[in-house]
């Protein structure tokens, strides 16, 4: 029986880059519990020695040649067209934490 704690839900929300209100958390938690219980049914299935499937095409080695194709690039205007820019840069509200990748 999945019983997500508020702490867990907040942690998952952080991983998801979502800010949830208290009422959202209240509504979401039992729903997630129910769904997680439902999908946990899979533990019934014997998968010993079974390879995981991440892709159904069976393709390998689909690669591109090392060529620059300027007609596939966007102009600076096009790249910036969907937002307000600053001297050709995308704007972001000031970063409070540092990047989290290793």
């Amino acid at each position: 029986m999945a019983k997500l704690t508020k702490k867990q839900v907040l942690h998952v929300a952080e991983l998801s880059n979502l800010t949830l209100t208290d009422s959202e958390i209240k509504k979401l938690t039992p729903q997630l519990d129910k769904i997680i219980d439902f999908v946990a049914k899979l533990s019934e299935v014997d998968t010993d020695g079974v390879e995981p499937t991440s892709q159904t095409t069976g393709l390998t080695n689909i690669l591109k040649e090392d060529i620059v194709k300027s007609d596939e690039s966007l102009s600076q205007d096009e790249a910036l067209s969907a937002t307000d820019d600053q001297n050709g840069y995308f704007k972001v509200p000031s970063i409070l934490t540092n990047r989290s990748d290793d």
Binding site: S16, F38, T47, T53, T57, I62, L74, A82
Partner: protein, 460 residues
């Protein structure tokens, strides 16, 4: 105004014989849209200017020789259309004007298609009814109290309400077949890797396909011919090898499909389909797909995981609004996805699901050794009423019980209208075949429709 034909052939015959012009076609479809769209909430954007521009060009050239020449087409609003607002029916992309067009949009344009507009859908394609749109649900043209199905709700609505001749949708877990089924249309989910996904807003990368909706199998086949094939941009697409239809095809029905919750009218329809094929000399046998009951759990692990990943790019920096604009269903799926991928849970959920997926694929590899195609319901019931499933997300997820299969296995599935329920709602079934067996499915679909003397019909 003219009576817009319901097939590509009739449309092109009419254009070539100058019975009507492309501009007149556009006039008529636009009139229909103006009359009914606010009531049924089918289109989010109507591309009147572009439609007339293309129609005038075609009329000027005058030979209508392209395979989709003069064919008015509607696109689910997850297809990027350069210069034309594309929202995914989400407030996140409320004001997004794409900088490029999807491969499939370009292909249809090059084949002579006329873009009429962008249709409503469940936001980011998350849904099986159309009720998850941030712009309000789409109503079923056959009965306003009912859903069109989803997530390609508007695409099905547009064709069945005679606002467009054909439309494009997407199918990740049934999102083209189920609305086609609820709206009396033919709907194709192609083989994963037959049609390029480039330029279609990604939902679940290993499951997404470009779906097509029309009134007849012939028209679906014409569209498939135009859409399929490599474009150098979707690395999973290969040019399909030609397949020959088995002169004595054999169909199968899985015993696991007759579950509790299957509407008796749908069950009856499946039985009549079986008898129809037998009547024309095609054998229908019973088979087993033992992992059927695990399809939906596998889907609701794999899909949300991929969704949580694909929706991460919407951070409001390069386009769109910030993440607080996500709707409830999107947030739910993102949370679920992050959970099943997170440390400590990945093995038990995501990796487990990938392994069970292997077993599901195995079921079908076995089955296709003995049959050429499988008959299956599309939905357990005909269209349901608006609001019926909205309080219980899990209940809504169970709508996908028959459709997620084809996505998990990567195989094509053709939804075919069959009959109507007592209450006047469309009921249909689907045929599923091995990878790249679309032409076989088209043959089998045409044979069925010929035998039942199927006539295309719009709701109004």
């Amino acid at each position: 105004m003219i009576n817009t034909p319901l097939t590509i052939k009739e449309t092109q015959d009419g254009l070539k014989s100058k019975k009507f012009s492309a501009v007149e076609l556009v006039d008529s479809y636009l009139a229909q849209i103006k009359k009914y769209n606010s009531e049924y909430n089918i289109f989010l954007t109507v591309t009147e200017e572009l439609a007339y521009k293309k129609a005038k060009e075609l009329d000027q050239i005058g030979n209508f020789s392209g395979p989709l020449s003069g064919v008015v087409t509607a696109y689910k609003d997850i297809f990027l259309t350069k210069g034309v607002r594309t929202t995914a029916a989400s407030k996140i992309l409320d004001n997004y004007i794409p900088q490029y067009s999807a491969t499939t949009v370009k292909k249809i344009e090059q084949a002579g298609g006329i873009i009429i507009g962008k249709t409503n859908c469940d936001a980011f394609a998350h849904g099986a009814s159309g009720e998850n749109s941030d712009y309000g649900a789409t109503f079923n043209p056959w009965n306003k109290e009912y859903v069109t199905g989803g997530s390609s709700s508007g695409s099905a609505g547009a064709v069945s309400a005679n606002m467009s001749l054909v439309s494009l949708g997407s199918d990740t877990g049934g999102s083209t077949r189920q609305p086609a089924n609820f709206c009396n249309l033919v709907g194709l989910k192609p083989t994963y890797g037959a049609i390029s996904r480039y330029g279609v807003i990604a939902m679940s990368s290993s499951l997404d396909t470009v779906g097509s909706l029309a009134h007849t199998v012939d028209d679906i086949e014409i569209m498939y011919d135009v859409l399929k094939g490599e474009d150098g941009l979707d690395g999973n697409v290969v040019n399909p090898k030609p397949q020959t239809l088995n002169p004595k095809p054999r169909l199968g029905i899985a015993k696991e499909y007759f579950i509790e919750g299957l509407d008796s009218e749908v069950e009856k329809m499946i039985d009549s389909v079986k008898k129809t094929y037998e009547k024309i000399g095609i054998e229908v046998v019973e088979l087993s797909l033992p992992h059927t009951k695990y399809m939906v759990p596998v889907y609701y692990i794999v899909m949300p995981a991929e969704v949580s990943s694909n929706l991460g790019k919407f951070d409001g920096i390069r386009y769109g609004n910030d993440r607080s604009a996500f709707g409830e269903e999107a947030k739910r799926r993102i949370m679920l996805g992050s959970y099943v991928l997170s440390a400590g849970y990945y093995d038990a959920y995501f990796e487990k699901a990938m392994k069970v997926r292997t077993k599901i694929v195995g079921d079908f590899n076995e089955a296709f050794k003995t049959v050429d195609a499988i008959i299956s319901p599309v939905s357990p019931t005909p269209a349901f009423k608006l609001g019926e499933n909205t309080n219980d997300p899990l209940k809504m997820y169970l709508e996908d019980v028959y459709t997620t299969t084809a996505n998990l296995v990567g195989i094509p599935a053709l939804a075919l209208p069959s009959t109507f329920s007592k209450s006047g709602l469309p009921i249909g079934f689907q045929l599923m075949g091995p990878r790249f067996s679309e032409y076989n499915l088209f043959e089998l679909g045409k044979k069925y429709h010929k035998e039942i003397d199927y006539k295309p019909k719009t709701a109004f």
